[in-house]
């Protein structure tokens, strides 16, 4: 069972298409990891304006924390992250440099 914790900043294009993105992210987890979409969670954290910085300056960066199996091997993990990245960039139009994807076995 995968879980995504998507941290985006208020006003980011992702905010208005959260349902579409969530469906896409569940489909990626199913296709790349074999996880049932019904058991995949997508949690959204919306950071208010004035609460997010990159390089010490206000930014529009997003962070996608993906909770996956601990023993996911490198190749499968890389493939999964690439598919998440491609989905996010194509749906939101965001610069890939403004997206950090991180996979881990437990939440922060």
């Amino acid at each position: 069972m995968a879980k995504y914790i998507a941290t985006i900043q208020e006003g980011h294009p992702a905010q208005s298409i959260r349902d579409e993105l969530a469906s896409g992210l569940k489909a990626v987890a199913e296709g790349a990891l074999g996880d049932d979409p019904a058991t995949t969670d997508v949690v959204w954290k919306i950071i208010p304006k004035g609460f997010g910085w990159t390089a010490g300056r206000p930014s529009n960066s997003s962070v996608l924390l993906c909770v996956v199996s601990e023993d996911l091997q490198f190749k499968a993990r890389a493939n999964f992250m690439s598919k998440v990245n491609d989905l996010w960039v194509s749906k939101t139009g965001a610069d890939p440099n403004e997206l950090l994807i991180y996979t881990q076995g437990t939440t922060l």
């Binding site: 950071i47 997010g52 922060l108």
Partner: protein, 136 residues
Amino acid sequence: MPIYLSTVEEGRSNEAQRTMIAECITEVHVDVTGAPAQFVNTFFQERADEEGGFRELPKGKVIFVNGNIRFGRSAEAKAEMVERITQGVVAALDCQREEVGITLNSGPASHGMEGGQILPDPGSPEEKAWKEMEHA
């Protein structure tokens, strides 16, 4: 990466103070690790949640900085980062150092992707090329 998620007591900080803290964290991380500044993400929230590491701010703390960095930083480097960030937060919020909590969690670089690329290990040959990539 890194990602620094700071949970601050509601109403305790203004934008200027958060700017000071974000600048401090960025400067310290870049100075100690040599990582490019454009990879240093600093977020703030006023409501604690599990993703921030706890359900509520630890008692007596006005801010808790949860830093997530790549494996490979020495204990000395992390200790220096904690000390300097603590000093910066104390100055920005005009609080006592005992009111500042900070933890640095490390994770494998290969578990992350930024700019569509798998993150390299600190000090690896791949990191040199990664640093030279244009991340505008």
